[in-house]
Chain length 486, copies 2
């Protein structure tokens, strides 16, 4: 035990020991039933006379904080859970370097608002992922067992910073079978696609640099760019996706260091970038020497219409870094995503990944590799598309039936989201608490805009995570909330 | 399937389809036995006449690249593994933004050199971690099963960005039982301690800022600081650890934004910062408003001598951010570490962690939580200390017996490493290949210094990962290599 003692203090050493243990026990930091070191051991550890330690223990025992089991040792008596610590009270006392511009994270999330509303049957459409219940937990469980039995210690040692080689091969095969020819040595496994976005922006940009986003865009990317103190430049979407003309104006006016885009079934709007614009975008990236970060989080969740190639598939020149994830097929909590990069930037990304966290959990990578085969992937994809299509149709029907025609939307051909636009003057932020009162949550539009260009009349609905009947009920509740808002 | 087709190209569409599939198959990107989409499906996906697709398939089949199983579909014929891609050949063709100052990572590691030497019984002392064989894989396997059965889908969804609450409670209890009173809400779970170091330096420093390190120091931290383009300022260690007087000179001369230190059983030297210096260091951090990042990767692996408190335990004022890991008790590949921070900086770190990768794998966190109890931790710690002490003694004895007296070292009282200093003029980098030839690998000293202050006569030996008999043999081989070097 490494007690902080001050031998030059006026406070006697036995009191210092007693004080440390007392505070730890009362604050709950000392687990109940924790065995304290034997007085002999502690005295030796601290280079003290044993009597000093015994005196301290005696005081604590007299106060009923610890007790002795004869022949077994000294133990902490049970206590309650510790109360949370409050920083804010004494903020001024902390060193100056603690303080900085910081976006508040205190605002409750839609789902927290929904839970607070205490509806008997709350329905959330605020989710950002697919339906976890489509994931066969039992199969994955079996495979996890097999992997630990098969690989033993090897599964628990450091792995290749690029990622487990067989998993990179599988991903290359899956991507190729989806129309993007990729080599395993062009793939970098990341801890979810969020880490992919973080690695790319941290490697290529420094604080103050300008990153261009389409608006509205993924809130998690905006959080990241804010956390990195990047300057966020925005170009609004239209029905064909990112507006190329306005993009080029921006590239002429500003020194853009990165273009972040979701060309296929975009989050939150569900819109797709038209194929001509995809080629124009690549031409601009080439002309202005700007890297493109393509976030293809649900690119192959397509329910109808013509398949569009990923930007990366149209880009032999290495202008695009491609980020994706298995979260839509597997589980978000596994935190396994990947980057695809060609050219020298790949090695720099691997370097940066290793510096950031050495490697992604080897065990999880091996389990994912054992679970994901092309056959399974394609089967799971077919099944997900079938189920999500039905749910999307249920939602579109309900919207037309339950919501006023003044609420606008473009039916998405794939992905997870429908983006609603309220009549001008109505605020989705003001709608949210009313909706949660009525028993439905959604993602308010403001979260998907950078600070300087917030639009508040949009809202994102996830149609993938609820059953058709619940979707209909959820939209009905949304209609009630909307009438209350007006 | 999302094939990249160019409808304005002179190349007929069937040739474009054939070309894509051919390249994918020949490059090995298409997995053997991959089922190609039915011609009807692909034609619909691409908005083409079915005949176009059939023509493309016919060409490929004629070339023996694909085959048809009647009634089942069209499949890719088996191929070899793809050859690795070579970037470097055509580097100049890549966009300019690909290129930047980059430290080469091509040099082979000590273990790669050792493997290349093809010794019948190679012995590596180059490892940076404890002995993985002390880890009870079977128990952990059982607990992983229990957790998946117990928590089901919950274990596979996103978790709290701060980390799984019960795990943070356990860590708080373990730290307190080791002499550092900590509240669960002051703990942030990270993907290994490496991510802890990365989060702190990325949050507090920007490119060009100055970070102060003791030299020699942890190579992984130097890699990180280089990757972040920080300016590295060094202060050499002496027998009592970081030299406080020289540290204060640096703080007066330069604008140091962070002090990175391993006060207890330092990597690579195994030395400890004396308690008076610990208090002086904290006083300086306060006077100069500089945060301290304390890396306590093996703080309680102590084999003798008086226990010294962690800096964090001496620091009520929030000057210290504490980073550690369970890797020495569990397995490196699990990637579970943690930060301890008090004051406003804690919330900023949580924010930055969420922006970086949302959260660390929920499943792994739950498994670690289920495995780690204070009782188990203390038992495992006792056992590890007992075994590692024997191995350290074996190494010190062998060094005295096998190596010339001109090779200097300070016997470490804990940790994993012995640091040898060769007589002036001898280079451990030159010794390494000879040692690997003789069948033993070590970590050469140059890896532990920033570029501007490299010393090449030191070497780090890991005494924790080999049996005593192998340690003796390894040191004998080192002696042979040393005689060859002279």
């Amino acid at each position: 035990m490494r007690l902080p003692l001050d031998r030059h203090s006026d406070i006697p050493l036995y009191r210092q020991i007693e004080g440390f243990l007392r505070q730890g026990i009362l604050s709950g930091s000392f687990a109940p039933e924790t065995r304290l070191p034997a007085t002999r051991t502690l005295a030796r550890d601290l280079g003290l006379n044993r009597l000093t330690v015994e005196t301290a223990y005696a005081e604590l025992q007299a106060d009923g904080l610890i007790y002795t089991r004869s022949g077994s040792g000294t133990y902490v008596l049970p206590r309650f859970q510790p109360a949370p610590v409050a920083h804010t009270s004494s903020d001024l006392a902390w060193p100056r370097w603690h303080h900085a511009e910081m976006r508040s994270v205190s605002a409750p999330t839609p789902d927290e608002l929904l839970a607070a509303a205490r509806q008997p049957h709350p329905l959330s459409l605020a989710n950002g992922t697919g339906d976890p219940h489509l994931f066969p937990v039992k199969d994955f469980h079996k495979i996890m067992q097999t992997v630990i039995r098969r690989d033993g210690i090897a599964a628990l040692e450091y792995g290749d910073p690029r990622g487990y080689a067989p998993l990179r091969r599988t991903i290359a095969h899956v991507l190729t079978s989806q129309g993007m020819a990729v080599h395993p040595d062009q793939i970098l496994i990341t801890s979810g696609s969020q880490q992919g976005l973080a690695l790319v922006s941290q490697l290529l940009l420094k604080p103050g640099d300008e990153v261009l986003v389409e608006t509205p865009t993924y809130a998690g990317a905006l959080d990241l760019f804010r956390a990195l103190n990047l300057s966020i430049v925005s170009v609004p979407l239209d029905a064909q996706g990112l507006q190329i003309e306005r993009l080029e104006q921006r590239l002429q006016q500003r020194l853009i260091k990165l273009i972040y885009t979701m060309p296929t079934f975009q989050n939150p709007t569900g819109s797709c970038l038209s194929t001509p614009r995809r080629r124009q975008l690549l031409a601009l990236a080439d002309r202005y020497n700007v890297p493109i970060l393509e976030d293809d989080f649900v690119g192959d969740l397509r329910y109808e219409g013509r398949a569009q190639p990923a930007l990366k598939a149209l880009d032999p020149g290495g202008h695009v870094i491609y980020a994706s994830t298995f979260s839509k097929m597997l589980m978000p909590g596994l935190r396994v995503g990947f980057l695809v990069a060609t050219g020298p930037i790949y090695d720099r990304l691997v370097n940066f990944k290793r510096a950031s966290d050495l490697a992604t959990s080897n065990l999880i990578q091996r389990a994912v590799e054992a679970y994901v085969t092309i056959g399974r992937y394609q089967a799971h994809l077919r099944r997900s598309c079938q189920i999500y299509r039905q749910r999307r149709d249920a939602m579109l029907t309900s919207i037309k039936r339950q919501l006023p025609a003044s609420v606008q939307f473009n039916p998405p051909h794939g992905g997870l989201f429908v983006w609603l636009r309220l009549p001008a003057g109505l605020s989705s932020s003001e709608l949210l608490p009313l909706a949660c009162e009525a028993g439905v949550a959604f993602a308010p539009g403001r979260d998907f805009f950078p600070a300087d260009s917030v639009e508040d009349n949009g809202l994102r609905l996830n149609f993938a995570t609820q059953q058709p009947a619940d979707i209909e009920e959820a939209i009905k509740r949304l209609g009630i909330a909307l009438r209350r808002l007006r």
